[in-house]
Amino acid sequence: MIEYLILYLYTSLFIIFAIAVYGVVVKPNIIKKIIALSIAGDTANTLIIFLGYRLIEYPKPPVLPTLNPSRGEINSFVKEAVDPIPQALVITAIVINLAVVAFLVFLSIQLYKLYGTLDHRKILVRRGVGSEA
């Protein structure tokens, strides 16, 4: 029974990712695209963390509780702790998503200064590329 719930978790993450990509691709406003992009990035991070989860009774965070653990404590820790590698990679992913979003924000301000609008279609028109659809 629990497999169906886990299947639902995967599909809900992919639904969120699909909505976010829809927002990036279809929505004309640049700020809306940035918001959708940050949601898409966070969804991918959540999927990676979910893959690293450990499906046992009481999973532990990957942190040893004591500074001088006994041999037995280390063994039980290894048996109960969650996978730390996705977490280490997701911190790097969060930092890089943050760098991208911060840079996009400054670019959108520059775009507004040059074209006076943040609507993607109007910018194309003002650049003489798009048609006045």
Binding site: L7, T11, A18, V21, I56, A81, D83, T92, I109
Partner: protein, 255 residues
Amino acid sequence: MEKLLIYTLLLTLFVGGIVVAVSFNVFGGSPSGIIRSLALFYLENMYNVYAKTFWAASPEAVNAILWDYRGLDTIYETTVLYTALIGCLAIATGLEKKFRPKEPGLTIIVKAGTRIVVAIVILVSLVLAFRGYITPGGGFQGGVAFAIAPLLLIAAYSWRRLEELGFRLDKAVLLRSLGLAAIALIALAPYMLGGYILQNQFKPWIVFAGAPYTIWVFYIGGTLLFLNISEFFVVSMEFLMIFILLSIIYVGGEK
């Protein structure tokens, strides 16, 4: 025609997602009772005081991986954040600046409340950064938590008040470069002493004796503490710089 292209893209993405979701679940389901053997290596060796060949002097797996086992990864991640914010700085210098007159700020109650909250935010960020190698936290988490404090000051008082307190743009950029130089120094120090870059603890096949993991009675986890502190300075000053830039740049009126 364009609409068709977009909707087919989304349809394929949606169906592909469902297919991948089902396949994840059919092949033994990814979150299961056992984790990958690579993770077992890290969990086993990161703070194994009984077999110290591969240990990382930090009971916290994520920090051990970030700064010791995959230290170069974090160095490059910091350079990505650095270059992105250099780009922001470059764009901001092109825009006109408008130094608004001294605003009165919000009411006394809000100011008093903000003072308390800012003190707590700074305390929490210091704990996250300085104990990041023992309890969950770390340089980046502490720095980002610290970045919220000037925002509250900007909201309650005004940007001017922040400047009187000493949060100025050039000081932020200077402190950030100092932090980055410190990270580079800590990374290169073991290399100069015969070990490899970002080496933390003694490795039997390398001559470098490894950074001390306890000073007197304090447990400092080799180079992890100093890397976390300098990362804390780098990240907090970076976001201070961003917020100061964002609050003073000014884009012309309606075109």
